[in-house]
Amino acid sequence: MSTVETPRSPYARTKPSGTNWEKWGWMYMRASGVVLVVLIFGHLFVNMVAGEGVRGIDFAFVAGKWASPFWQVWDLLMLWLALIHGANGMRTIINDYSSSPALGKVLRFAVFASAAVLIVLGTLVIFTFDPCPSVSPEQFDLLPSFCPPQ
């Protein structure tokens, strides 16, 4: 039998130590959400409503946008904010429903790994994009009109 030293003392919460990640995740969901409304609504308006809408999207359309640093930064922010927001939201949902800790671990790893891979891929795509790549002659008319003749 163990003796309780001070049986009447109230339960003391151990003082939380270190960063409260759960709180910062909660803050991030809200802060990124406010910025994402602007970025995504702008993205959808320019791509889906203005001009011809989705029928106007092709390589030349993307080249026209990414020739400007404005849309490069826009898409870069949208890429990072949305994927981290989405992955953290998926983590919440996995924590709510996964039946075993091991399954939760596997699912959380899958979500964050795919988000990380796509953040790297999307960032590389934006920064290595060439609006006027050298192409075979039959593809030349797919390039934007501002490309010099090849």
Partner: protein, 139 residues
């Protein structure tokens, strides 16, 4: 001191209706969850299809032409509907959390979300429906 008044009851009061259980509070949460997951999976695919601009103009235009078929056109309506709801309801969640009157007006704000959703979708649908019709006619 302000007295605690009884919460405004729904038309047919049943036990259990709180901010998150039953009624609009729960359904907005369910919809927010489902739309969040749907957008996440769309985004994974969307970054892969956009990455084809680095393969060749031909490859990118080929994947984009599959986004222009009538069936995908309907899918895009569902996607835009989901993201518009998630965005507007997300702002409502933020107001519930940070605005001193947020909890009091959470239900009213839900109807505002639905109203704005209808307005924004009405702004998007004409362009999209014209495009779907043009595709169906092969134009």
């Amino acid at each position: 001191m302000s007295a605690v008044t009884a919460p405004r009851s729904e038309k047919k009061p049943r036990p259990g209706g709180t901010l998150y259980r039953g009624y609009t509070g729960m359904w907005s949460w369910v919809l927010h969850r489902i739309t969040g997951v749907a957008i996440f999976f769309f985004l994974l695919v969307h970054i892969l299809d956009t990455a084809l601009v680095r393969v060749s103009p031909e490859a990118y235009n080929a994947i984009m032409s599959s986004y222009k078929t009538p069936l995908m056109g309907l899918g895009e309506i569902a996607l835009v509907g989901a993201i518009v709801f998630h965005a507007l309801n997300g702002l409502r969640i933020i107001l519930v959390d940070f605005w001193s009157k947020g909890v009091k007006y959470q239900r009213a704000m839900f109807w505002v979300v639905l109203g704005l959703w209808v307005v924004l979708m009405a702004g998007f649908l004409p362009r999209q429906i014209i495009n779907i019709v043009l595709e169906v006619n092969g134009q």
